[in-house]
Symmetry: C2
Subunit: 563 residues, 2 copies
């Protein structure tokens, strides 16, 4: 051991390989992360406290906090824009992978819906503002300003790799990111309070009474002590609750783009790493597909919408027809998830025969995408596992329990296989790449990365010595000769698959995002875990499940363009 | 945009820079991560379900699951050991940073305590095994076998970078890691049920009655329907509850080591990256310090133990003296945390004048350490913020509320500054390094990494062009000439600081780990949030806070050796 200590100094020469960049980035990032964590936890405390009416934290406190945060974020954004305009040398590089067009397009779309929501909210609160605190009207107005400024900011500078005032920029970006996450949390909490309120008012009789009172006061806390009687007020209230999902997605989209900007602060890009753009040229859209995927997807989409509307109508109606609505809902979901699982699986199988080079660029956007896909899926996993345990251990052995079990199992399988497919797709180079590979030296090196592990298990194929250290010869070896017609057929299949999955994910986003809650209509889990525990599980995990769908859609759009 | 698409193929040459290793590792890791996530979620569901007696999941189900997992893990470990013994070529490289001696030492220590706990558990259950299911006696026995096998396995092969059966090894390691995390979860849940049980039995009268019944049944579920009357049985029961903290730490230590092994699977190390060993040569221990840190730390340690015992005695006694006990407890903690904050701060100040080279090696162990320090601190942050909100918004304005507020604020400050100090220390090279730096070309390049950010803000110091791309000349520039006597004095200070912080962290680990719960004795938060919500917050967050202390101790020991 002591001789190893002696060897310590010897290895300072190889040290530079990692480069000083990483380290001073770490040092600079620490501060901003600490700031973000603390602000976020404070917001989290107030928001979660405000959700329980037993707790003496009122929604006005939460509104005040959010308004302050948004104003500060707006000030910083304006400062950033002014500064970058003033000194053009501030942004020497732009990350071509950051802020792809559809992400920014989605941001604008959701931003517009958020503005509409803010109008509704303002109208709702101002319809009885004499008995309201001013903050409740100030909050949506501030949010509107914040949304406009931030959307413009992200549209023009999502690709920036800024190189001035590094620490200040990091802190500013992290603070804006924190603001978006706080808005997301507030919206999610407000929506689940509303859900629980409507649910408990429909089951006003049974064991939920204690909670009902809580939720009712919390739910109506938005309306203060005044009641919302006028028709226009009702419209406003209904309207802004239906627009919540867009506000939620807006915050999350903005957060991901801000995170990538934060990662890119002070990043040094070689001019060659400008990367292939992922922008779909509109001409190529829907061309080069067999039309099977899009059409099948559209059919499922329309059927799904119909099922969703039937479900909502029947569940909100008298309880007798809830059973029937649930059966329809589950059957549709089982069919949809089953097809998606098979399709993703076939996509992965196609990749086993694909010989395109893997894309090895450092790419914060992709790393984040993969992390978010894997992480957001946990929410749905958790709900499914709780359902499985409830059904398997629980007593009822009826049709609904069986459907519920199949639904939960398929949900897990679908998430797993779709993640595998998307992640593998995101690491493929663009279609042109394979032509640039040199023919392989050994037969067993014409394999895709997924099989490269197997190399080491095969005695015939020792790990190539070039793999030690960064070797310019590396990936070319993993690439092999390609046959154009086959690949064309293959990329067509992949385009079909990605479009089909994309449409399915949209409909599976719409259902929970706009208020379908079979978790509560179906009594299996509620009876098994008790309402409060099950409500906590669903209200914490479901937002991630919903975000997963939206994020999968944007990733699948990228896959469609790449393949 | 389309022209960017055209440039896509052009940049395949630079692609290899990132190297194929990363990518095929990703592909190989995906499978094992998916396996781990799903097994862990299933275990999480059963364990959390078993904690609530309203839920029809019994602890026997949990025991059965854990026993099965441990047996499978043992089988895999034996298979791994046999295989590595069989073919010596399986482990071509060993990561010198992985499994440092004190980590393995701590593992053995905690493992022994876990074995004692298993003996107690076996005795406890076998004292009335006629009305027990056999699994309750089988479980501790299996755990003993598992602990022995796993400790041996980690002792001999924590440093391995294995290169055969990569996928199988990854899955096996991830499964063993999952098993440890499941054991940790089960222990934490069991302990908090026990805590809540003892708490509610002390406040049997008030609003906790509903919970009391829950907890009592859950708590005594360990005893099934038989009562534990005999003296020896009581001893066993008391004993194994006091040994839980060691079991918890054992699982976490094993998990971190397994994670590093997993990261090292298929890793290719240049022989030069064997790194400086972090092993403290026993002679150098306590030498080269001013003895101020150790002595002050020991005083605080002893005082803390006394305070802890007084607190436990008075709180468990009649409720009249709880107030007094809390005052003593808080005052000690405030003094301790205040000193720690100042000391960590001074440590960071010293680093501003330190000119040692930064250690730039790729080092999974250190990356994990930093991530765990930052992540585990979140638990304590959350508790503190909830306390702050409760005190600030809540009505009572007495001495205890003030102490509570000061305690919470200092807790946050202490975590922040200690993290900054530890993370900066871990990135320093060994003391010998600075002599290997070449004198700086420009005056403003003799700064530590924390100030390198400032370089770009100073007009006089443009970002050095060498920073573009990996430049062998990079870090040497960040190093400047050093003056030996000063540095000696500096490293002495750092050793004192790390030893002082180390001892403080040990005492701050002991208090909560062995059952000090001022969060419940002090009624501010309980009254503000209500018992069930506050119990959920504390029982979820506190285990991370406890783990943070233990992990900080091991990191500080490393800092002591490095400085």
């Amino acid at each position: 051991m002591s001789e190893e200590l002696a060897t310590g100094p010897k290895e300072s020469p190889p040290a530079p390989r990692a480069g000083p960049r990483e380290v001073w980035k770490k040092g600079g990032r620490l501060l901003s992360v600490l700031l973000a964590v603390n602000v976020l936890l404070l917001a989290c405390t107030l928001i979660s406290g405000g959700a329980f009416n037993k707790v003496a934290v009122y929604d006005t406190d939460v509104f005040a906090l959010l308004t302050t945060m948004m104003l500060l974020a707006v000030l910083w954004i304006l400062f950033y824009l002014l500064r970058t305009v003033r000194c053009p040398g501030a942004v020497p590089y732009r990350d071509a992978h950051a802020g792809p067009i559809w992400l920014r397009g989605g941001l604008v779309l959701f931003g517009i819906c958020t503005l509409v929501m803010d109008v509704f909210k303002t109208g709702y609160y101002s319809s009885f503002f004499e008995c309201q605190s001013a903050i409740k009207i100030l909050h949506p107005l501030t949010q509107a300003v914040f949304v406009i400024v931030q959307t413009y900011f992200l549209w023009v500078s999502a690709k920036d790799c800024i190189h001035t005032h590094l620490d200040l920029t990091r802190c500013g970006l992290m603070f804006t990111l924190t603001t978006n996450l706080a808005i997301w949390m507030a919206a999610v909490v407000d929506e689940s309070v509303h859900q629980a309120h409507s649910h408990s008012s429909s089951h006003g009789n049974t064991s939920y009474t204690r909670l009902t009172q809580d939720w009712e006061r919390a739910g109506s806390a938005a309306g203060g002590d005044c009641s919302c009687n006028t028709a226009v007020c009702q419209v406003f209230q209904q309207g802004y609750f239906y627009l919540y999902p867009f506000n939620i997605e807006y915050s999350l989209f903005a957060s991901t783009m801000l995170y990538v900007m934060w990662k890119n602060v002070g990043r040094l890009l070689a001019s060659s790493t400008h990367g292939h753009s992922h922008t779909p040229s509109p001409i190529s859209l829907f061309r080069e597909t067999f039309f099977v995927g899009p059409i099948l997807g559209l059919i499922l989409f329309v059927v799904g919408l119909a099922v969703f509307i039937i479900y909502e109508v029947q569940v909100s109606g008298e309880t007798g027809r809830t059973q029937q609505a649930l059966v329809i809902y589950y059957i549709f979901n089982i069919v949809c998830l089953g097809l998606m699982t098979l399709v993703s699986l076939s996509g992965s199988v196609i990749y086993r025969f694909d010989r395109r080079a893997m894309d090895h660029h450092k790419n914060p956007t992709r790393t984040l995408d993969v992390a978010l896909l894997m992480g957001a899926a946990l929410g749905q996993y958790a709900i499914s596992y709780y359902s499985i345990v409830a059904v398997v251990v629980g007593t009822p052995r009826d049709l609904l329990a069986g459907l519920n079990l199949a639904h939960a199992l398929l949900m897990i399988a679908q998430h797993i296989f779709q993640n595998v497919f998307i992640i593998e797709s995101l690491h493929r180079g663009p279609p042109g790449d394979e032509t640039h590979g040199t023919p392989p030296r050994e037969p067993c090196q014409g394999l895709t990365f997924a099989n490269l592990d197997a190399l080491h298990t095969l005695p015939a194929c020792p790990p190539p010595a070039e793999l030690v250290g960064p070797s310019p010869a590396g990936p070319q070896e993993a690439v092999s000769i390609t046959s154009a017609p086959k690949d064309h057929w293959r990329s067509r299949c992949l385009k079909d698959i990605s479009l089909f999955l994309l449409l399915c994910n949209i409909i599976l986003w719409i259902m929970p995002a706009f208020g379908a809650r079979p978790h509560f209509s179906n009594t299996v889990e509620v009876d098994f875990y008790g309402y409060s525990l099950w409500a906590a599980i669903v209200n914490i995990c479901l937002p991630f499940g919903i975000f997963y769908r939206m994020h999968a859609v944007s990733s699948l759009l990228e896959v469609y363009v790449l393949s």
